[in-house]
């Protein structure tokens, strides 16, 4: 396996050979390289089960989680390269500076719930939370950010574009049955939703199979359009707040 080694000043692929075991994933091989040949090889990882989103890299040029990429996906003797994600600056070897994402996270207006029900509870129905739960599956691996054309080859766009991860986050907040915060002006003006031209690259690489483009980005675009260019919707939104589109369904009888 060839692993990219280097830092911000440059680097190169270095070939390593280690013994293999059944069921190995790319991350296992990287760990074995660390233990046997290169103790200072830099790599991020935590759960090793596709749940934490730490071990993102480009495997043969494709953005993937190292812990979920089985070695038996590759033909015997085929060349395998592992390199750091391209969109973010390299710190060392496979580790990149992903602080862009944590800075963008700070710009998202927080969840602001409406008042509780008269009986002091919060009632939401599974069918209303289903679509938001899809967005909450995001493990923040940032592979969608890595593959997004708007920032992958255009550093200059980073200041005015938050990227698919944060469109998913914004969609989760905007579609949350309890939320009352209004972010549509900000989404249009500051988060750069308009840059996205719906190529669906983000959806393709999402290890959690979140339908980023269809279920998050396109509905957000529609909301922005109807809020800003439909005068009746605009006026209603000013008067009634944004919640009018969520009428709760008929309550079903209580369970056991």
């Amino acid at each position: 396996m060839k692993v990219w080694r280097g830092d911000a000043n440059g680097g190169e692929f270095v070939e390593f050979r280690v013994p293999s075991d059944p069921g190995m994933v790319v991350l296992d091989v990287v760990h074995r390289i660390q233990a046997m040949h290169a103790p200072d090889l830099a790599v991020r990882w935590n759960c090793k089960a596709g749940k934490c989103g730490s071990c993102s890299a480009e495997i043969n040029g494709h953005p993937k989680l190292m812990c979920m990429t089985r070695m038996n996906e590759f033909a015997e003797g085929a060349e395998i390269t592992v390199s750091p994600v391209k969109t973010f600056p390299v710190i060392k070897d496979l580790v990149t500076d992903v602080s862009f994402n944590y800075e963008k996270a700070k710009t998202i207006p927080p969840f602001k719930p409406k008042p509780k029900e008269a009986d002091g509870t919060r009632r939401m129905y599974q069918e209303d939370v289903d679509r938001v739960q899809e967005f909450h599956k995001c493990i923040e691996c940032f592979l969608c950010q890595d593959v997004c054309h708007v920032i992958r080859d255009h550093d200059e766009n980073k200041a005015s574009f938050s990227g698919p991860r944060f469109f998913v986050r914004l969609a989760a907040l905007e579609m949350h049955p309890l939320d009352t915060n209004d972010r549509l002006d900000l989404i249009r003006a500051k988060q750069g939703l308009g840059f996205c031209n719906i190529t669906k690259c983000c959806t393709e690489v999402c290890p959690e199979d979140i339908h980023i483009t269809d279920n998050a980005i396109i509905p957000l675009k529609e909301r922005v359009v109807s809020a800003h260019y439909d005068p009746i919707a605009w006026a209603l939104r000013r008067v009634r707040g944004k919640r009018d589109q969520f009428a709760p369904p008929e309550a079903e009888p209580p369970s056991a």
Partner: protein, 611 residues
């Protein structure tokens, strides 16, 4: 050292899992200038991997549930070694902490009438775990993370703190290094909260990630704090066993909570053979009753598949030793033949994904192969139940790093609620202490000595490889301080641990200080080895079998030991062990727990072929 990066805060929280985040949110909300310092990126701590749910007596599914039942379940599950006051506070406050997450944007699965749905788990009388499919931890950590970020709390990511700074017996800060640059960083703090989790990486087969190297426990020991019951380690009964690369990876107890059952290679539901007297009155003794219980809890008793984790892990161990295991040394966990495929995919999506992607097993059609995996440590830093203050002023601890709450065995689902309940309390107490305490004074000499120790592995002349030493430690703890323990093996483990300590001191680090995992591991090894010694010596001292601690040479619970904590502390650089009586619960709580005590031999060896 004069150019060392320095910061001053009222409260410094070390660790950014559920307990650390909740502590920081509370301290910040009370007006304390608060920092979170964590080894990984924000949102990657072990809480993210929690699957099944958060235990809280919300009574949304079974009206009969309340804090008293939860308290009873927790105490009995912990084999009565728990700190009763912590178990009480936990049971009483968990519902509010769960509802608070909802106020911060969490979306739990719902009941038909729109409330938070709750699922069955081992040792819980009623369906009690608030959950989101089988990714509850992700929902919890993201909710807390977003709330902390929105609150403006400063976060120092990929920053490892190595030593606590003290002034006249009080903790006044901490020193460590940035993982990316390798540069040193020191914090002065009015109070420090440890929320660093456990020490799973001392074992070979574990569900834990690289971070769980016992940092907080080792730092607290060094600063003079007491540990209790370090022998109490939890082997989760269901970890993956095949292929080797995923050995130990967690399979949620929710599989059994949602109807899955354990079988041996002969197809027998063997858990019916392992019902201890202590749980007999609460446990079904026929397959028919066990299966009916899922639908009707009023008229049936719980399936023995959902006995507390220590019981199930020992039973699996016995079945495998008796030759009734699977090809790869596990047993069978079957939900495919018991529940419809769409139900399994909806309730357990990440288990479905994990087995499909990593083991080529479709859990809606095939059985899983599982076996015990080191998951958690019930022992840890001794804290005051109400304030989470350790025995050292200025130092607080919450979550897995702290001890007492879970006694000898933790129930599934009681960890996430523990993080929230005691994280909040620790944050509040730390903020309060920082407010009234004197301005912390950093001792420059101590800071300089610690700084030298952090850089020291680069100057060593030895030729040991840190990964090889770590691997040898994992083998030692796995083989000699595992599910079943005995005097001779524990003594052998101590000898080997000492040898490993000497080898660790000869670990030489190559490369630069920039993001160098070999160096980081060389430093973590000292913590791993120090904590492994505390676990082994505590295990040697406790001559009984109780909860997560099973002695082949003392296979019964002993009521005298059941009234004692094993206390470990460092004095003059040496680990001292003593026993001290555990606090007794007041009468009204004692009545809830019941008068019977754990008794009878536990399954220490191969169960005979009496079937």
């Amino acid at each position: 050292m004069n150019d060392m990066e320095r910061h001053e805060y009222d409260v410094v929280v070390i660790g950014a899992g559920g307990a650390g985040l909740r502590a920081a949110i509370e301290a910040n909300a009370l007006g304390a200038k608060t920092a979170i310092v964590c080894k990984s990126l924000l949102g990657k701590a072990h809480t993210v991997m929690a699957e099944g749910g958060i235990a809280a007596a919300l009574a949304n599914v079974w009206k009969e549930d309340n804090w008293r039942v939860h308290f009873r379940d927790t105490m009995r599950g912990g084999k009565l070694l728990n700190n009763w006051r912590m178990a009480q506070l936990h049971a009483q406050e968990a519902p509010d902490r769960v509802l608070e997450l909802e106020e911060w944007g969490a979306l739990f699965d719902r009941t038909k009438d729109g409330l938070i749905l709750q699922r069955d788990f081992g040792g819980h009388r009623y369906a009690r775990l608030a959950h989101v499919g089988d990714r509850t931890g992700l929902e919890m950590i993201r909710t807390l993370q977003n709330h902390a970020v929105a609150s403006g709390i400063d976060v120092f990511m990929e920053c490892t703190l190595r030593h606590l700074l003290t002034d006249g017996g009080r903790v006044v800060g901490a020193v460590g290094y940035w993982r990316d640059s390798g540069r040193l960083i020191a914090f002065g703090a009015g109070a420090v909260v440890l929320a660093t989790g456990g020490v799973g990486k001392a074992w070979r087969i574990t569900s834990n990630s690289w971070e769980y190297t016992g940092d907080g426990i080792a730092m607290a020991l060094e600063a003079g704090a007491d540990l209790i019951d370090m022998e109490m380690t939890q082997f989760h009964p269901t970890g993956m066993v095949w292929p080797p690369s995923v050995r130990g990876l967690l399979v949620t107890e929710g599989v059994r909570g949602d109807g899955g059952t354990l079988k041996n290679s002969k197809g027998e539901r063997f858990m019916f053979k392992y019902i201890p007297d202590f749980f007999r009155a609460d446990t079904a003794d026929t397959e028919e009753e066990a299966d009916r219980w899922y639908e009707d809890k009023r008229n049936n008793r719980r399936t023995p598949d959902l006995l507390p984790r220590d019981e199930v892990a020992r039973a699996i161990n016995s079945e495998v030793k008796a030759g009734r295991g699977t090809e790869h040394g596990g047993v069978i966990l079957d939900i495919a033949s018991r529940r419809p495929a769409d139900y399994i995919k909806r309730r357990l999506p990440s288990m479905y994904h994990q087995f499909k992607e990593l083991a080529d097993v479709d859990i809606t059609k095939e059985a899983m192969e599982i076996g015990p995996t080191l998951h958690y440590i019930m022992g840890g830093i001794r804290v005051d139940a109400d304030t989470e203050q350790t025995t050292v002023p200025g130092l607080y601890a919450a979550g897995e790093v702290a001890a007492g709450m879970h006694g000898a065995n933790r129930l599934g689902g009681n960890s996430l609620s523990d993080l929230l309940v005691f994280g909040r309390r620790a944050g509040a107490s730390a903020a309060e202490y920082a407010k009234r305490g004197a301005t912390p004074r950093i001792d420059g000499t101590q800071l300089g000595q610690f700084a030298d120790r952090i850089a020291e592995p680069f100057q060593r002349s030895g030729n040991e490889n840190p990964y090889a030493v770590h691997s040898a430690l994992q083998d030692t703890m796995q083989e000699l301080v595992g599910i079943i323990r005995t005097r001779s093996e524990l003594e052998e483990a101590l000898v080997r641990v000492e040898r490993l300590r000497a080898r660790a001191a000869r670990v030489r680090v190559t490369g630069t200080r920039r993001y160098n995992p070999g160096w980081h591991l060389a430093l973590d090894l000292e913590n791993l080895i120090g904590v492994s010694e505390a676990v082994t010596r505590s295990a040697l001292l406790r001559e009984e079998s109780r909860g997560g601690h099973t002695r082949e040479d003392f296979p019964k619970p002993d009521p005298r030991w059941g009234a004692q904590n094993v206390v470990a502390r460092k004095r003059d650089g040496r680990l001292e062990l003593v026993t001290e009586p555990i606090p007794t619960a007041p009468d009204e709580l004692q009545r809830l727990i019941g008068d019977d005590k754990p008794s009878g031999e536990v399954a220490v060896a191969a169960a005979g072929g009496a079937e």
